[in-house]
């Protein structure tokens, strides 16, 4: 009888212990909030890609990427359409919110009055995202709006988001939030490629090239699959360079660099 009690107590103890060890560590959720340069696209719109699409392919199993970016949205309309509150509600400690807005905030009225957000309001909205992220012990990351492709007559890549990028930096400094300067890094990359080759990153299609775009497309804002991946790489590498802990979950590939001997 004494033995049985002892055994029972031991079993209970083991079960209790197991309840701790068996539950797998919770996955970190990374929310992407932003605009058309970041969002998901359906097949019927390919080859357009937001950079959030390839970005999701480079994390280990400890991370889930939830891309909530939406085409045409400014910070103001993202909030007005109740796209933020459900994210804020579901954030857990250790989650991330990567935010990249500006393309639509800066759209000048009257043409883009529906989305236009003046710089002071833009800042207020970013601060709201930051504050409410931190209230859940989650981690906000600011990203400056990725550059549009544009060159001046001397072949110099033009800066297209000046006041909004500046606002992101001001908030980053004031609230001590890491800033990924995608605006500058993307522009530097376009400069490196030059006016012609940089088109290969964007939705540049001849008519009849891709059935999804029967009239062709000449677009200096939206990326194709290739450009989106290049942008994702810039963000991934900057997460590493800034030693943001999320970077520990970026995959460590083992593919060899060897050249295929047959082509030589």
């Amino acid at each position: 009888m004494k033995d049985k009690k002892y055994l029972c107590a031991m079993l209970c103890g083991v079960l209790l212990l197991m309840s701790f060890t068996l539950s797998p560590p919770r996955k970190i959720k990374v929310y992407l909030i932003g605009d058309s340069t970041m969002c998901l696209y359906p097949t019927k719109q390919f080859p357009i890609n937001g950079w959030g699409m390839p970005f999701a392919n480079y994390f280990d199993e400890g991370v889930t990427i939830d891309n909530r970016a939406k085409g045409g949205r400014s910070t103001r309309t993202f909030l007005a359409e109740n796209r933020w509150q459900p994210i804020a509600d579901s954030l857990n400690a250790g989650d991330y919110v990567l935010m990249q807005f500006g393309h639509n905030d800066e759209g000048p009225p009257p043409q883009y009055a529906d989305r236009y957000t003046p710089v002071p309001d833009y800042k207020v909205n970013l601060i709201k995202f930051i504050t409410e992220t931190r209230a859940k012990n989650a981690i906000p990351i600011l990203i400056t709006p990725v550059s549009r492709r544009g060159f001046d007559k001397d072949g110099k890549a033009k800066e297209t988001h000046i006041p909004y990028t500046k606002a992101v930096f001001e908030i980053g400094a004031e609230y001590k939030v890491p800033v990924i300067d995608l605006d500058k890094m993307s522009r530097d990359y376009y400069q490196q490629l030059g006016p012609d080759r940089s088109k290969l990153l964007f939705m540049e299609l001849d008519s009849a090239e891709h059935p999804n775009y029967p009239l062709g497309r000449h677009d200096n804002t939206h990326f194709n699959e290739y450009g989106a991946r290049k942008m994702a790489q810039i963000v991934l590498n900057d997460l590493k360079a800034q030693h943001i802990p999320l970077a520990d979950h970026i995959v460590k590939g083992t593919n060899a660099p060897t050249v295929n001997p047959q082509a030589k």
Partner: protein, 257 residues
């Protein structure tokens, strides 16, 4: 019963109309099978951004088409058959389905286990064509897509000349639609030139991409850009050859008011 003759004529007319329509209405669904090697295949996520041209090819068709990409890294006609990949296609073919066949990269290398001598390569292609047709399905032969290779003067060099010629010969003899992807991709690579053509292939600087920490210089496998450009060339040929599959290319009204 005032016009019995007319009534009869009408019913006969209707019967013929229905019969006629049964030929003209495309059957509900076709499957397009892709049979080939790593230049065509789907990829594991850990190999990204290496891209087979079968991946972007999926996006070109409407909902009446299923593209099944059976192509697999490293396969020759010989190993594709030996591993049962070919029978997984031929056993499931229905009338009106398509089989796009592109091999050569792994057939033509004598040092590889997948090496397939010229006569066997020809025989295997003929087998694919014959067995596809026996099911009422449509074979399309494709020459092995070009690798990136230039001579010292910047002129692109063919690397599949012998095996591409064999594909052309089988296509001519068997009267099979031919897509000369070797020649067309060579033209594309030439147009891009020595430096820019690297953008079509899986070229990565060290530290650029997490899957390739030491970088990659690959003159055989495509980037997303190269894979799509190649897929677009295949599609253009499907159109110019007026294959029935053309009627199932997705019709988009994007940008059309």
């Amino acid at each position: 019963m005032k016009y019995p003759f007319f009534k009869l004529k009408l019913s006969v007319f209707c019967l013929f109309a229905v019969l006629f329509m049964s030929f003209w209405i495309p059957p509900g669904h076709v499957t397009v099978y892709l049979a080939g090697d790593s230049t065509m295949s789907d990829k594991a996520v850990k190999a990204y951004p290496e891209t087979g041209w079968g991946i972007p090819f999926h996006a070109f068709f409407d909902s009446t088409v299923t593209v099944k990409n059976i192509a697999k890294n490293g396969r020759s006609t010989k190993s594709f058959i030996a591993e049962g990949l070919w029978s997984s296609i031929s056993d499931n073919l229905n009338a009106g389905d398509y089989v796009l066949i592109q091999f050569g990269h792994n057939d033509e290398v004598p040092t590889k286990a997948t090496y397939t001598p010229e006569a066997d390569y020809t025989a295997n292609l003929v087998k694919f064509v014959t067995e596809t047709r026996s099911k009422g399905a449509i074979p399309v032969l494709i020459t092995p897509v070009a690798r990136r290779k230039f001579d010292s003067e910047g002129k692109v060099q063919g690397t599949h000349n012998v095996y591409s010629a064999l594909v052309r010969k089988v296509a001519a003899e068997q009267n099979v639609p031919l897509i000369d992807l070797d020649m067309e991709a060579q033209a594309l690579i030439q147009k891009f030139g020595v430096d820019d053509s690297k953008m079509l292939f899986n070229y990565l600087a060290p530290g650029e991409n997490p899957n390739y920490p030491d970088g990659k210089s690959d003159d055989t496998h495509f980037s997303e850009l190269g894979a799509r450009k190649v897929a677009e060339m295949v599609l253009a040929d499907i159109k110019s050859m007026k294959l029935d599959l053309t009627n199932r290319i997705v019709i988009s009204h994007f940008g059309i008011k």
